[in-house]
Amino acid sequence: MTPFTSGFVGRRSLATLVCGALATGGLAAVGVTALGPGTASASSHREAPLISGQPQFDNTDVYAFVSPDHPDTTTLVANWIPFEEPAGGPNFFTFAEDAQYDLHIDNDGDAQGDFVFRYTFKTHVKNDKTFLYNTGPVESLDDPDLNITQTYDIELLQLKDQRVVKKSTYADDVPVAPSNVGQASMPDYAKLREQAVHELPGGAKTFAGQADDPFFLDLRVFDLLYGGNLSEVGNDTLKEYNVNSVALQLPTDMIQESADQPIIGVWSTTQRKSASGEYRQVSRLGMPLVNEVVNPIKDKDKFNASSPWNDGDFLENVTNPELPKLIEAIYKIPAPKEPRNDLVDVFLKGVEGLNQPPHVRASEMLRLNTSIKPAAKEKRLGVLDGDNAGFPNGRRLGDDVLDIALQVVEGELVGAKNDLGDAVDKNDQKFEKAFPYVALPTSGSRGPLAKGTTGTNDVRNQLGDALQPAGTTSGVAGMDDTTLIAVSAASGAAGFLLIGTGLLWWRSRRRAY
């Protein structure tokens, strides 16, 4: 076949050569493929990544509440980059530079934004010869030892009929609180956080930086749909993960339509710069769990690219939801009668007499009646428990939205009283009493114990972490499992339907509503 095999390379040496190659594994793999018919043996075309890690553009949660310590102001919080792994540091997470992080407010219920607060970030590297985040202990935000820093601008866009009528710079070059990479690097992280709270004209405040993920739930309830048992419910899946937060406190009279019409709608989006240079919306979030629980898989990406104005497209997902039917099929709990106008109220219009604006156009956003005073003692089930200052009237950090959403989806508002939930009732970290309210991020130097891993594990590996031996091989090894499940759930892959199945976790709790 070839002139070379008969000349310089004898039988023995060729065999040696081939076997040598095989031993490395390369040809072996080829050989295996070669055994299957019609398969290509090598790549001759570009094979670009199919899966790409881009969490900076992932909007995870939005909160809106009347500020408990400044009741004439309203606080908005939006989070990005889920599952920031602090363990074993130093890990750091930056906002993307080629993104616009937007907070939207609709103050007249017409499903069109009236205000957009647009956060854009810049990254600064002091010394690009090193890849270190910090080169020594960081005492302040402008410490020269903090090698990689970010600053941001806020632009305020005022809109009418979805067109910008006024644009102004609301904040300029504000420093971002760094990632909490560890005790040795950042001995007084709280001080750094404090320095990142920035006052704006007119009594407003802004903050951007790392925080503990305030969302709490047990995603292990996923298992139930497949017939797993309930013994493991009750762990906060998101415990000890951080997020990147943006928080904005605004004088309420600046954003509400009028004192007579104090109901606002809030949502958040991420725009990403495309190859052609245009910004395109790649993520959207208002009410918690809607895109996860209500929308079927095929609609999720479309929802992320859409605006509230077009939410009629998703109406059927709400009036005829999949989840209760699925639960009925598996657990024989009767699904409430359709069409579910009760869900349209809660998820798309707001509750009448509480947070439904007049002439409301059904659309998905968090609706907050800013005239309702903050509760002296917050109840985690919010409105369902008679605390009208909480979810679904806006959303406070401590509201147990999973339990509330479950109960509502299963007919709580249409007479099917139930006590469903996931047995995780509060966040693992305490929220702050003052702006920005979110809890301090978990430190990167808390050591390997917290996750039951050993120091040899690759801590940068989220999934890997979940899979590392934790000194036990039983399936009940706490964090290992839940971590992984959380990853799947919040990223909205297959799990969306299943969150609700936690309803089988019946608890003896008295309802006041």
Binding site: T2, P3, T5, S6, F8, R11, L14, A15, L17, C19, L22, T24, G25, G26, L27, A28, A29, V30, G31, V32, A34, G36, G38, S41, A42, S43, H45, R46, E47, A48, L50, S52, Q54, P55, F92, D98, F131, R220, G228, R272, A275, S276, K298, D301, R460, N461, Q462, L463, G464, L467, G475, V476, D481, L484, I485, S488, S491, A493, A494, G495
Partner: protein, 482 residues
């Protein structure tokens, strides 16, 4: 990126390997060997080599395809549908075993099956392990059986078909997935891949614009850049790849995008820039094979033959595919030491063994293989392969391969239109220009030959240790550079 990822790029401690870079890196050519009929002895050798290879391969295959999932300690009892996006941030192998364990307990999780399928395909890509394809197929079929028309699984089928070079099927599945979900990022991406590989460049360009509008992100950016490069728009290609690199945080993304920038720089003759990008890629993944190979090529072009040979030996030891084998052989030839000719021939012989193994198993010889064979192996077989590939898809790469295969078989008049077609879109590849110039020279088109060879050497004078030398010699004979 954590500082911890800044590791020694030279370290060679990992067992898994990656495939050689993709279509743009053609093996370099040298003088045509005189063809001889295959002697009985050569035939025996070939069959013997195949038998050994296949025997070992099957043993290895049994391990790969066997009950690997059942072994080892797994701590995870359940892990529903891990989102493919998150696979990018961690170790694919451990994610895959988690999914396997989960799916054993929850076999009805169609989302989990589709994610597993995609993870297998991604593993095949990054580890150069095509034995994953049948596994991917089973997982994706299972997902579709549980829930027909679920777009993640359809997009996975599209990616699998593309990986197996069944581009019409890839296009079909991508369209099906997009019917379900017009925003499916993987389907948008593989649709571009399929159209590019089928040579339907106009449609590919449109598809890239549409994908960029719907799902801007690294998977789409890398395709968008390539579609522009195929049209000769290097400025846009570089800008978009740089944008992708600056927003990349997962090591796999950084390695891929930095390598793509390195390859672009190399094709443009900017070796220092290329080396910088390859170092960046290797900081993210110290054994990323396309970067190791690209670095060796750039070192060779930059005059550092010693480092190039060491680097390419490393690449070939990890994964002996035709492209790198040919380059290594040519580097030996260019070094010209006492034993180098024999060493070079050993590399070419390995190419032949590889090709024979593929053919003996009914596998279509790949384009890389055809080009390697055209220069250093069975020229007739190379022509057969190139022609068959051209009949399947008319791309600049298949046109170039067919032109060159015709040329080495002495059929220059037939070769000429294909050589012209290979350069017609404006795609800037010195090898294509070199091939075209040599064919023009052989057909008596001296002026054109001079212009093509000048362009090749001006663009990327180090495109091949052996080819560049021949190009220069031929150009001198034609009266020097234009």
């Amino acid at each position: 990126m954590a500082p911890g990822t800044n590791e020694d790029a030279q370290e060679k401690d990992r067992a898994d390997v990656t495939p050689p870079p993709e279509g743009e890196d053609r093996p370099d050519r040298t003088d045509r060997p005189k063809e001889r009929p295959e002697s009985p002895r050569a035939r025996m050798l070939r069959l013997g080599a195949c038998a050994v290879a296949i025997a070992v391969a099957m043993t290895a295959g049994a391990v790969v395809l066997g009950n690997k999932d059942d072994n080892g300690v797994r701590t995870v009892a359940s892990a529903p549908g891990v989102a493919p996006e998150l696979l990018a941030t961690g170790s694919l192998a451990s994610s895959i075993s988690a999914l396997q364990t989960h799916l054993k307990a929850q076999p009805k999780d169609y989302g989990g099956w589709s994610t597993l399928g995609v993870a297998y395909i991604e593993q095949a890509r990054t580890n150069g392990d095509p034995s994953r394809y049948p596994q991917a197929e089973r997982a994706l079929e299972r997902s579709l059986k549980l829930k027909p028309d679920n777009d993640p699984a359809l997009a996975g089928r599209s990616a699998l078909a593309a990986a197996r070079h069944d581009f019409p099927a890839a296009l079909r599945y991508a369209d099906k997935a997009l019917d379900e979900n017009a925003y499916n990022e993987r389907a948008l991406s593989t649709r571009i891949d399929a159209l590019v590989e089928l040579g339907r460049y106009k449609e590919a360009s449109k598809a890239a614009d549409q994908a960029d509008e719907r799902r801007p992100g690294i998977p789409v950016f890398t395709r968008y850049a390539y579609v522009r490069e195929l049209r000769g728009d290097v400025t846009t290609t570089r800008r978009v790849l740089k944008q992708a690199l600056s927003s990349a945080s997962a090591p796999g993304d950084i390695a891929y995008v930095a390598t793509a920038l390195g390859q672009l720089s190399w094709r443009e003759g900017e070796y220092k820039a290329a080396l910088t990008y390859y170092e960046q890629a290797l900081r993210a993944d110290k054994v990323y094979l396309p970067a190791l190979e690209g670095r060796a090529r750039a070192q060779a072009a930059n005059g550092d033959g010693k480092a190039a040979i060491a680097g390419m030996e490393d690449v070939v030891a990890r994964f002996p595919l035709p492209g790198p084998l040919v380059v290594l052989g040519e580097l030996y030839e260019a070094r010209g030491g006492e034993e180098d000719k024999a060493k070079a021939r050993a590399q070419y012989a390995l190419v032949n063994a590889w090709t024979a193994l593929a053919r003996a198993n009914g596998v279509n010889a790949d384009l890389d293989t055809a080009l390697a064979a055209a220069d250093h192996g069975d020229r007739k077989a190379a022509l057969r392969a190139a022609r068959a590939e051209w009949e399947r898809r008319e791309t600049v790469h298949t046109a170039d391969a067919l032109a060159w295969a015709l040329h080495v078989n002495g059929r220059d008049e037939e070769a000429l239109p294909y050589a012209r077609r290979a350069t017609a879109t404006g795609y800037r590849d010195a090898t294509f220009l070199y091939h075209r110039g040599m064919i023009e020279q052989a057909t008596g088109n001296k002026k054109e030959a001079r212009s093509s060879l000048s362009a090749a050497l001006k663009l990327n004078p180090g495109f091949s240790p052996v080819g560049a030398k021949l190009a220069k010699k031929t150009l001198t004979a034609l009266g020097g550079a234009k």
